[in-house]
Symmetry: C2
Subunit: 220 residues, 2 copies
DNA sequence: GCCTTGACTAAGCGCTTGCTTAGAGAGCAG
DNA sequence: CTGCTCTCTAAGCAAGCGCTTAGTCAAGGC
């Protein structure tokens, strides 16, 4: 279960965030997005003040509002970029992989690995959706349905080809999503588990969960 | 993925909460705990005001402080009772079940069913740990280690008997916990899935994840 | 009757919140 | 130089926050 201690991993977090936004925004806006992501991840949206974000980005409290209209807009931008990233990543993981078991393994491995690698922004985009405005929430929800669709289609594809035995496709899809998304709750960087190792483990588990019994299972 | 719309299931929630505290507290304190649980589940700890809680419980803002020293004490009491409940439930689910696969199915089914049945308090106790004081957090963390231990031991028991093929017991335990805990994020009461159905589904998936391949799998 | 006890509220205190305003200073075009 | 643009800050506003204070009222012991 390995729950988060209150405000502990604050420092262990900074090092892997910067790259996430490199291709997207120039310096000050990027610094603000990184600062907001870190604060939201540790304290939650409502537990974070705009002064916290400004201070972490090296600005005065008013400096935030030169670049963002509101605190909610910061959350929206983080959510939007994060979900676009995730959707692109899971889509890319299945193209060109035609064998059903390998397609499943590729998808689950990539998606779980992504959640571990980006566990700090993921914590924000998975657990702070309720703080978005209705309009922004609707936009994000559409991206999430895209992710759901990839998982469902990958399972259905394996069922059609006779590679999987699954009577409840929706339930199986929820389970695979749970494995990945819950990483954002328990994962700590600096521990013994690597993102790649978690992806491998979840690929093994997913294969055993769904595959038609025939050849011997890989040990988990 | 089925994310929570911002502040939508507010009303769909009230009906299954009252019983949770019946055996524990008399009327006013119970009403406050229920009100706080509902508000924390929908808006988060930091997004909820003591005025919200008081209003929902039918008291003036000052009425909260007749029964609780602080807002954090409300969260602590909710967390404590919830974790004690969960630990007792998962422990009870394995006693007297000696066949390893059946023990696993009983544990996973009971634990996932419990999370769906009590998804509103679960949302609070799983995702608001970071708002507890350090002392209170430590107390809750001990209960959580007790839950982890039951899951680990159930897996190890099956491995020793040759019923499971598992090389990474810790990873498998995390996966089973993820399936259950993540229910608090996606489950909505009033939908087509019942707590019992989810327990059954997760028991099937867990069995296929861990079991030594021999007899044919149950369809999922 | 009187006094104490305990649940409760009206009012409000001191502080923090998200955000705005007024203006400083740098950079650059002309 | 002047004038305009852009980034940023010092100061602060109105609202909301957790929690306290002073006191009301009903119940119960004597």
């Amino acid at each position: 279960m390995a729950p988060a201690a209150p405000g502990d991993f604050d420092d262990a977090v900074a090092h892997d965030l910067d790259e996430a936004w490199v291709e997207i925004e120039p310096t000050v806006v990027r610094r603000l997005l990184i600062a907001a992501t870190q604060e939201f991840a540790v304290r939650g949206y409502h537990g974070t003040t705009t002064r916290d974000i400004a201070a972490r980005a090296g600005l005065s409290p008013a400096g935030v509002y030169v670049h963002f209209r509101s605190k909610e807009e910061l959350l929206y931008r983080i959510s939007l970029v994060g979900h676009q990233h995730a959707l692109a990543h899971i889509r890319a993981s299945v193209v060109g992989v035609d064998e059903p078991v390998e397609r499943l393994r590729s998808m689950v491995g990539a998606f779980s690995c992504w959640h571990a690698r980006w566990h700090v922004p993921t914590r924000v985009i998975q657990y702070e959706l309720g703080a978005l405005s209705h309009a922004h929430y609707d936009e994000i929800a559409a991206l999430r349905r895209g992710i759901d669709a990839v998982v469902r289609e990958t399972i259905e594809y394996g069922v059609e080809r006779g590679a999987f035995v699954v009577s409840d496709v929706g339930g199986a899809a929820l389970a695979l999503l749970s494995l990945a998304i819950d990483i954002a709750r328990w994962y700590r960087s600096g521990g013994s588990r690597t993102p790649e190792g978690i992806g491998q483990l979840h690929a093994d588990l997913a294969e055993r969960m769904l595959r038609t019994p025939s050849s011997p299972d890989r040990a988990v």
